[in-house]
């Protein structure tokens, strides 16, 4: 056989040779070309396969990395202070209901689910949500709160057990989302409501459980629908394709992009489970825009549109969220409620026809209104100005990447009610001032910071008249001359130098000529001079000449050293004009300065963060109270009494709250460019600045501008009067002269005088002078 075959082959080869010889040159050329072409095809095929494999590998790496990256990239969540509830708290039933509404609790009869409450005669029943606080998890609890005219009388659990203390869940006030603006609240598969998962499949991708990333039938169906309609009406994308599209956020409509999306979808399906893909979709899909913040995922969508956690959504609300996917702008329930409602109802019909909900549930859901919160972000409110402070505080310990991706939970000091009230007070009062004084609308700007006077924690921070706009934060960044607000520093330096509030100063014309620079001749606000008068009166009337006189007596260096002691900063202005507040400071820095007084003599850096927890609820950092005593208690008390006089008798007396027991100081700068007020009561310290961004004159003084804003704030936030504690050093002093007197013979104020012997006595008051006073009166007469 082998011999035969060899012979045959030899014959065939000989034949070929003969044919080739017969074909000649062109024949050989053609054969060579064919061979070359064949080789070329072979190599290019091989090359293409390699290229495709490489591209496939690249796609695989890209999509897998993105998928896994997104899975773990959780923006930090920021929480406000929770409202503490205890028997004796002066909180009315109505106010508690407002607080619950703010947190998205629903008032209804059935309290089976957390996040609900009901009101009866003198009690309020609530099913509190469970929450992971700094100290640990507090499970959901049903409570009954009884009220009397003073506030909460009793708190009981459903079993009748009395509770001493509990608290609401804190409002979520922001998150640190990446610079491209995507915010999300990550849900685990267990947290996804079953109806949401099934509903999504029913509406967006019926074959999700069976396909491998793409659906031929889906594409064909979309093609038919679109051809019939003559326009692109329906997309044939599976949930997996939509997920890929969402990752790369492009609206480019090319075949190449479609193919790439398809390939990536197939890769995702090969690599990850259906459950993981559906959960990723639920956490990823774009559901709307709130300013610079893109709302991604159903967890955040539930908060943004309904102000509650996803597990509290009812059937209709789930349908509404699903309806938004198709066109977050077109079906925006705030802007186009009819469209959103009609699509939601179509979705509810599908839920029913697919057997996902019962007929009764369907009927009830169809009848229910859209139910989106009236003002977007009312409860899950965002306070960009306060968040700036949180960011700046955290930047010392955490990288911005950590804040944006590690799923941290940040507990802050903000009190949302105080914040909202302060913002409202500012916006409304500025408009009222502009109206009353016929100033151009929106020409004025303002900023304010409120802190707890004892702990220094910032409770509210307003950076401009439009609170929700993430613009220039005046509370932190506006550096403006503080004017007379600085004067207590000089008075404190005097007290620390052994002087008394009743010691005289000279309010007389003065010209100072520094070694370098121009001569300076300050004037009083009204242009008059008042001669010799006690220090407290000079402060109450905010007399410039008297303060410069006192500053000169003490020495500018001593006053500036006092300023440094109180703020930890060296003054920028080395000239005597510093004494009258020619020193630029931000409202937050002014708050820091006045924190020394309001706290009774402790310097605290205003702080906004209480603790930072990681995803496993381990505390990464506790930001405990930090303070340093800066003023001796008696000296702080004396200074604060003089600041109370400013309010009762001096430049603050126009305030409706001036006689209640508040302390503070107004400030006005040259040409009325800046209007300041810094003041405190027993529990809160507030600083208000009013001015114009272009630094032009406003025509406002501290009293007519900032103090008016503070009044509006106090009206909303309440005043906690300073309690006057008896003090052995308190002496009755004639207000206008600074002499010892009593109520029978003069208009008196109570002030501490450590060295009574040096104090002159008003004649005719039947006060027996001591030996020293008798001798002095002998020499002075």
């Amino acid at each position: 056989m082998a011999v035969k075959k060899q012979r045959k082959t030899t014959k065939s080869q000989r034949g070929k040779r003969r044919r080739a010889q017969n074909l000649g040159f062109f024949g050989r050329l053609r054969a060579a070309l064919l061979r070359g072409l064949w080789r070329l095809l072979l190599w290019s095929g091989l090359f293409s396969v390699l290229l495709l494999l490489g591209y496939g590998y690249y796609l695989d790496r890209t999509i897998s990395k993105t998928f896994e990256g997104r899975l773990w990239s959780v923006p930090a969540q920021v929480y406000a202070q929770p409202l503490e509830l205890f028997a004796g708290l002066e909180l009315s039933k109505g106010h508690l209901a407002i607080e619950l509404d703010r947190l998205g609790y629903r008032q209804q009869r059935d309290l089976t689910l957390p996040g609900t409450y009901s009101i009866a005669d003198n009690n309020l029943q609530v099913h509190l949500r469970g929450f992971r606080y700094i100290e640990g998890f507090r499970p959901a609890q049903r409570l009954r709160l009884t009220f009397d005219k003073n506030g909460i009388r009793q708190i009981q659990s459903v079993s009748g057990e009395e509770l001493i203390l509990t608290r609401l869940d804190p409002a979520k006030i922001g998150s640190f989302f990446p610079s491209h603006g995507e915010d999300r609240v990550i849900l685990t598969p267990e947290e996804v409501p079953p109806l949401l998962a099934e509903g999504l499949k029913a509406i967006e991708d019926r074959n999700f459980d069976d396909h491998r990333g793409f659906s031929i039938t889906g594409i064909l169906r979309a093609l038919v629908v679109n051809l019939r309609a003559g326009a692109a009406r329906q997309g044939g994308s599976t949930l997996t394709q939509q997920l890929v599209k969402s990752y790369f956020l492009t609206n480019e409509r090319t075949i190449e992009r479609k193919l790439r999306e398809l390939a990536m979808a197939v890769i995702l399906e090969l690599r990850f489970s259906k459950e993981a893909l559906l959960t990723a979709y639920i956490n990823e899909i774009f559901l709307g825009q709130n300013g610079a913040r893109a709302i991604h995922g159903f967890g955040l969508g539930a908060q943004f549109y309904f102000n509650k956690p996803i597990n509290e959504l009812d059937v209709a609300e789930i349908a509404t969220l699903i309806s938004i996917i198709r066109g977050p702008s077109y079906y925006n329930p705030f802007r186009h409620p009819e469209r959103a409602l009609s699509r939601r109802n179509r979705i509810l019909d599908t839920f029913y026809s697919d057997g996902l909900i019962a007929a009764q549930t369907h009927a009830r859901a169809i009848e229910s209104p859209l139910g989106v919160v009236s003002a977007p972000g009312r409860g899950g409110a965002y306070y960009p100005a306060f968040m700036d402070l949180v960011r700046s505080e955290l930047s010392q310990r955490y990288s911005s990447a950590d804040l944006r991706s590690q799923g941290l939970r940040i507990f802050t000091t903000l009190q949302p009610r105080l914040q909202e009230n302060t913002q409202q007070a500012i916006s409304q009062t500025l408009s009222a001032i502009e109206r009353d004084r016929q100033l151009p609308a929106n020409s004025l700007q303002a900023a304010s910071v409120i802190s707890d006077s004892q702990t220094g924690e910032v409770l509210a921070l307003v950076g401009g008249r439009q609170g929700r706009v993430d613009g220039f934060n005046r509370a932190l960044n506006a550096q403006r001359s503080v004017g007379s607000v600085i004067k207590p520093v000089t008075v404190l330096a005097a007290l620390n130098a052994g002087m008394s509030l009743t010691d005289p100063v000279n309010d007389q014309p003065i010209t100072l000529t520094p070694r370098s620079g121009e001569a300076w001749s300050p004037k009083n606000f009204d242009g008059s001079t008042y001669g010799k008068l006690p220090i407290y009166l000079a402060l109450a009337r905010s007399l410039n000449l008297a303060m410069v006189d006192l500053g000169q007596t003490l020495g500018l260096q001593k006053v500036q050293a006092q300023f440094t002691e109180l703020t930890g900063r060296r003054p920028k202005n080395p000239f005597p004009s510093f004494l009258l507040g020619a020193e630029a400071m931000s409202p937050l820095q002014t708050l820091e300065l006045y924190g020394n007084f309001a706290s009774g003599g402790f310097h605290t850096r205003p702080k906004a963060v209480i603790a930072v927890l990681n995803e496993q609820d381990m505390a990464l950092s506790h930001h405990t109270f930090e303070m340093k005593q800066s003023i001796a208690p008696n000296t702080a008390d004396a200074l604060n009494r003089s600041l109370e006089l400013v309010m009762r008798r001096g430049t603050g007396r126009s305030s409706a709250f001036s006689q209640l027991g508040v302390a503070g100081k107004t400030g006005t700068t040259n040409d009325n460019r800046d209007s300041w007020f810094a003041g405190f009561d027993n529990s809160k310290l507030s600083v208000v600045w009013v001015g114009r961004d272009d630094n032009q004159s406003t025509g406002l003084t501290g009293s007519t501008g900032a103090l008016r804003v503070w009044n509006a704030m106090a009206r909303r936030n309440g005043v906690d009067p300073i309690i006057s504690v008896p003090n052995e050093d308190l002496i009755e002093i004639e207000y206008t002269s600074g002499k010892r007197a009593n109520a029978r013979c003069a208009d008196v104020v109570l002030l501490p005088v450590p060295n009574l012997k040096a104090l002159p006595i008003k004649s005719g008051c039947s006060i027996k002078p001591g030996l020293g006073q008798r001798l002095r009166s002998l020499f002075s007469n």
Partner: protein, 164 residues
Amino acid sequence: MNTYRLVPILLALLLSACASTSTTPPVLRDEPKTKNTPIQQPTPKPAAPKTKTSATFALLSAADEALAGNQPKQAIVLMERAVRIEPRNFELWIRLSRAHLASGNLAPATQHARKAIALADASSSGSSRANQAKAWLQYAKVLDAQGDTREAASIRRRYRQQRG
């Protein structure tokens, strides 16, 4: 003590009683009145029962448990929560100082003891001297920990007899 010295003290006590009944803080006020309502001089609300203390006491008990369980950080979190409810209660600052001392944080232990002294001075409740003694004796403990035993001993001599 002679009669002349008793009179001002009695007067001061009377004044302090008046002050404490008329100036208890309103925690929450009603929303602003309408524009047409004439502005009236606001008045402080009447005194409310002092039940904040039981709320903060509950927190202190939990903090004590945390301290006993060697969890000083948790104890500080709980005590700071109590201080947020009653920031002017000098006893809470004493406890906070103790918790920091237990954790070896001498700087806050010192400052919080000083804070307690300042607030005890200004406190209108209880015996002022007994309050001051409590606060000063905590400060003495911190001084001991800092190694300033002489000053600590001197404070103890001054205030031990006055502790209520």
